[in-house]
Amino acid sequence: MGLLSSSVALARYRVEGKLEEPVLETVAESLERHVIGDIDGNLPEKAVGWTSFETPYQPDFAKSSLVIGAYFVFALRVDKKTIPRGVIGKHCAAEEARELARTGAQYITREEKRRIRGQVEEGLLLTIPATPNIFDVIWHYEAGELWLCSTLKEANEALETLFYRTFNLSLIRLFPFTLAELSAKLSAAAHDRLLAISPTSLKG
């Protein structure tokens, strides 16, 4: 679900550190270096990269608006090939039958089955198209805040890894404790009490 969908999911981050000036060029070049690659017709099962907000299926940071107001707006794209287990099973069975007919053997060894399965999977990965999943990213650079329009664990982990690789900046996920630490402006004594708190019981 994207930012402009009728129902939005937001995971929030604090961005630690600053980029090299000029920031806009640094962001654009860094995104370009880690743009999503096309894995259709190739062996990889999965690709993770950046894409442009307006044209997520045809990444183009030059034509798409990378800067909107005070925000960098782009998207994380995760392309995955999923081969249904039944399809692998069907192709393996056909391949094993051909192998038995070719060799005249009574059965196929475990090792041979493994080899056939590997070949079948490779063949299918070359033909099956990857399904793209797009998650919008809104980065308020000056405020050091970033939103990912997804709360899926896989998307959040992919973002954290790719963001660091791309910009050499760390993302800190804002959950209750980090939000309290980073935003509550607690006194030293209150901060010590925060570190020491234990669960409250309301059991009556």
């Binding site: 930012l3 402009l4 009728s6 129902s7 939005v8 999911a9 937001l10 995971a11 929030r12 907000f53 307006e54 608006s65 909107i68 107001g69 925000y71 707006v73 809104i138 939103w147 709360t151 800190i172 996920r173 804002l174 959950f175 209750p176 404790f177 980090t178 939000l179 309290a180 630490e181 935003s183 509550a184 607690l186 209150a190 009490r193 925060l194 570190l195 708190i197 669960p199 409250t200 019981s201 309301l202 059991k203 009556g204």
Partner: protein
Amino acid sequence: MLDVAVAYSRYRFLGAEFLTWLWYAVETEPDVIKAAAMGRGVLSVGDRIVLENSLDQPVERVTISGENADLGEGMLALKKGALVAELRLHYTAGDQDWRFSLKGDTLALTGLKTPRSAPVESADEIEGAVLDKVGLCDEVVRLVDSLFLRFVKLRVSERWREEVIPKMKAWIKGARF
């Protein structure tokens, strides 16, 4: 700062306590909510509450949902030691309204429905639509932050133990839904 993964597990209960306090504050302390919303709007509990009792093993989970849901079940779960794990909220400011769910463990917003803005009919309108939508989402993000930061300050103060817990217990005990 503590390692993020360690902090997430160690203080996971903080989010559930926040949502439980938020439910209590919405029902009994409208001035707190009003101050957090800077007098702009009204917050109410929506049509879904998920409670978890981590004292039980395996963890007991109670989900109350629907327009005419029986919140009494939720109170019963609170009496048994459960806390709110997920809360759907409804925020109204003027003629605009927002609906969203907050998850206690991450404070992530899900199912966020903002006031409607004009549909995007051409590529030229995308930038305006993005700014509108970010502004509308930000309204709720700031509200949640403001509420959470009020809660944290209360939570680490003496008032939490001396005043808030007894009041919340009395609210749970005397609740009539």
